[in-house]
């Protein structure tokens, strides 16, 4: 792996860039370095922001010795071992198709598949959370089967409901709240990755894994009620 680049972000931050593409190997390096920087907590560290391919480190310029920080990063990235191990795997129940996933049939048609095949392909994969961003709790998931990878919609929607299970290009995601989207809606989950009034506020973290479990629409009301009572409903799967 080539030496990562250190990019200046003004006087209060820098970005360690491992590459410029969406690549699980790069992401594993990002998460590995994130863990190290947080553990070593250099003076003045404010916070770290892992993304697909880079780690942004924010600090107080009056407290942080920039050269020392850069030195530490060079040292720690020299023999960095990727962090492939994931802390948790989550099973997320999804009601696919119909009023729950209005684009399921269209996606099936585009790929010459039946809706049942699309559901089967989508729910057979293990997805990795590369990063959380754009909105609180919005998970960017890698691991979508190329057979159902679908270009974004020509006409984005101004609003899709919270819990929408969607795909866009080779990415997959779960809408944490009502949001605008140009992705395709395959289904709906009552699970809320982000709930400011719940403890924990965030269910998932970057590096976690997600599997989707197709469930019958008859279970929707009960699941939704449980979520409203503050239960996660997403189940942690013991590996």
């Amino acid at each position: 792996m080539p030496t990562p680049k250190i990019l200046p972000c003004g006087d209060s931050a820098l970005t360690v860039e491992f590459g410029s593409t969406i690549d699980p190997a790069l992401n594993a390096m990002v998460l590995a370095l994130d863990e190290i920087v947080r553990a070593r907590a250099p003076a003045g560290l404010i916070e770290t922001v892992p993304t697909y391919r880079s780690l942004t480190i924010q600090f107080d310029p009056a407290l942080t010795d920039y050269d020392a920080l850069v030195g530490l990063l060079h040292e720690e990235t020299k023999d960095l071992a990727p962090r492939h191990a994931v802390g948790r795997r989550w099973r997320v129940p999804v009601v696919y198709g119909g009023e729950y996933g209005s684009d399921l049939e269209e996606v099936a048609e585009i790929h010459g598949l039946t809706p049942a095949q699309v559901i089967d392909i989508h729910s057979s994969a293990v997805y990795r959370i590369y990063m959380i961003g754009f909105l609180p709790g919005f998970t960017y998931l890698g691991g979508l089967d190329k057979r159902i990878a679908t270009s974004r919609r020509v006409h984005p929607r101004a609003k899709i409901p919270a819990g929408t299970i969607m795909i866009g290009g080779e990415q997959a995601g779960i809408a944490p709240m009502d949001m605008p989207s140009g992705w395709h809606n395959l289904g709906l989950t009552p699970v809320r990755p982000y709930a400011p009034e719940r403890d924990p506020v965030f269910l998932f973290a970057a590096g976690d894994e997600i599997v989707f479990e197709p469930v019958d629409a008859s279970r929707w009301d009960a699941m939704e009620k449980a979520v409203k009572a503050g239960e996660p409903v997403a189940e942690e799967v013991r590996l």
Binding site: P8, C9, D11, T51, M131, G133, F134
Partner: protein
Amino acid sequence: MIDLVVKSCGPMTALQDRGRFGYQGFGVSPSGAMDRRALAMANALVGNPPDMGTIEFVNLGGAFTVEGGDLHLAVAGAGASASIDGVPVPPLTSFVLREGQALEVGHPRTGTFAYLAVAGGLAVEPQLGSLSFHLRSRLGGLKGSPFQAGNRLPCRPEAQAGEPMQLTVDVLEETGPLRVMLGPQDDYFTPESIHLFLESEFTISPQADRMGFQLTGPKLEHAKGFNIVSDGIVDGHIQVPGSGQPIVLMRDRQTAGGYPKIATVISADLARFAQMRSGTKVRFRAVERGEAVAAARQLKDWIASLPSKLTPVRFDLTTEHLLSRNLIGGTVDALSSASHE
């Protein structure tokens, strides 16, 4: 408990402190006060630490009353004034609002953002470690909402004993171009575009809010396309989408984004930039890290020095000023009649 009661205010009037840190990895913007210098000044005047949560006004002022006791308050930022029962309070001076009196905070005059601090802060629970209101996250403020008429904001009675104070500061009124450091993606632009960026005048467009300020000016050409795989964003990043028109990202920005960022406004110049209104012309000047860090340290020292620049409000002021500070109570009539002789 003493309540500060909101009689009227603008739609984006909300609580802001220094910001919410530690959750950007979960997609939560730090938010926080747009002008940290004014935040610190309002807080210093009532004896609060510099980053305590205050009421941020955006473009519009507001009207308030108090119930259950008296409050020690101060207004700072963008030349916004305060008046009590129609009598103006001198600038950068704290005051006591008594039950039955009406406080009016005027529109920010020389910028966009002003702050009303209450001694001891508001007795409101922080969310994820901060009081800062962030619209998209439904966090901070009053349970994820800005203020509106009728809100009762609980204050701490034990913190209201302080004397009215006056702040005498050398206001850091820098002029000249905004200082930036190039990067993180300056290599995505042609050398001509970098030159154009540093040598041209840009205008702040009407699309300027707590998330970011859209600028209009000469079109900046990308050397290798305008899509990057999303990476981290910080306050002051200047991103350039396909239109070639830069956007300066501010406190309510997203945590990650997919446009190349040509440069970053240095932290010490962000408050000045935040107070520039739509239509203001701006230029940028590239500086090295040394100058940016020195400016950041200078700002930090300036904020730390504010409490030493307070003096108790003096008693040799005009009748009107004394009135406005409620300092002389029953002697007002005597003084007024004396002044007419």
